[in-house]
């Protein structure tokens, strides 16, 4: 199984197994205070060659700047082959996670809930304090 797209979107709607998304990629959020609970819409598209991955499971995991897991979404599904060499599956989950500090968070797709076995390189998501000047690290 491979990841074709992992993005934070402004909005993402799925209809008949295809996604309409706006404002991709969202690369940062501003928060007014910490701690705070943030929910972000994601676009996830995976594909795999036919002949395997019939009952896959994956975990979308958000980690804080220290690498601590702050939010997880699990997906498991039955994935029969189509009449083609490859198959696709797409998701538009809402990922919620706790923000206790500003900085660079990551969102990744993993084989395990502990986020030790990545399926693809995690994407960065910067969390800034609203009104903070560049260079002040959100302080």
């Amino acid at each position: 199984m491979h990841v074709a797209a992992l993005l934070v979107a402004g909005s993402a709607n799925i209809d008949d197994s295809a996604i309409d998304a706006t404002r991709v990629p969202i690369t940062s959020y501003e928060v007014n205070q910490t701690p705070v609970w943030l929910t972000v819409p994601l676009v996830l598209v995976v594909h795999a060659p036919s002949g395997g991955d019939f009952d896959p499971e994956l975990f979308i995991v958000c980690k804080d700047p220290a690498g601590t897991i702050r939010g997880t979404v699990r997906s498991a599904w039955q994935w029969p082959d189509e009449d083609k060499p490859s198959k696709y599956r797409c998701f538009t989950p809402q990922l919620s996670f706790a923000i206790e500090t500003t900085g660079e968070y990551t969102i990744g797709v993993y084989h395990d809930a502990e986020a030790l076995k990545p399926i693809a390189t995690p994407i960065p998501l910067m969390i800034n304090m609203a009104g903070a000047r560049p260079g002040r690290n959100g302080a």
């Binding site: 491979h2 074709a4 797209a5 992992l6 993005l7 402004g10 008949d16 295809a18 996604i19 309409d20 998304a21 706006t22 404002r23 991709v24 990629p25 969202i26 690369t27 940062s28 676009v43 598209v45 594909h47 083609k84 060499p85 490859s86 696709y88 797409c90 900085g103 660079e104 693809a120 390189t121 994407i123 960065p124 910067m126 560049p134 260079g135 002040r136 690290n137």
Partner: protein, 151 residues
């Protein structure tokens, strides 16, 4: 090290005023065409990111390969990529149309490579099946893009 966050063919894609992308029908996993050979044109969305401190002048290529693995079309992206303020990472997104000849049915792939020939892979290519419609239809003169995909 530059990473690919997304590579897909949507039905349509356009930049908004802020430089982000709005896209519909992600992903277009397959297309049906009325005739072959033809010259196909599809929109491509590519999003990459990299840690600050490197990749200041990257060059990458999106290459379409036919079912036999032969490169059939490519897009080149080369840009100056300064670090993004004090952020630990930087992003860049692209949307552009890719044209390539379709001479045979089967699974084509789109991939991001360091070279235009598609030899040095940056991430796993994404598949895109192209099928010939079963019912014979008259040729549409001047039409160079795909027909609507069958659901």
């Amino acid at each position: 090290m530059l990473h690919v966050s997304a590579l897909f063919v949507p039905r349509s894609a356009a930049f908004n005023e802020q430089g982000a992308i709005n896209a519909t029908s992600i992903p277009m996993a397959w297309f049906q065409v009325d005739q072959m050979p033809l010259w196909a044109t599809v929109p491509v969305v590519l999003v990459v990111h990299a840690p600050a401190g490197g990749d200041y002048d990257p060059e990458i290529h999106v290459v379409c390969k036919d079912p036999s693995g032969a490169p059939r079309g490519s897009l080149r992206a080369a840009w100056h990529w300064p670090d993004d303020g004090n952020r630990a990472s930087k992003y860049r997104c692209f949307t552009q149309e890719l044209s390539f000849p379709v001479e045979t049915e089967g699974e084509y792939t789109l991939g991001v490579y360091y070279d235009a020939e598609g030899k040095f892979e940056l991430s796993t290519p994404v598949p895109m099946s192209i099928l010939l419609a079963e019912t014979e239809q008259p040729a549409d003169d001047g039409e160079t893009t795909f027909s609507e995909p069958a659901e």
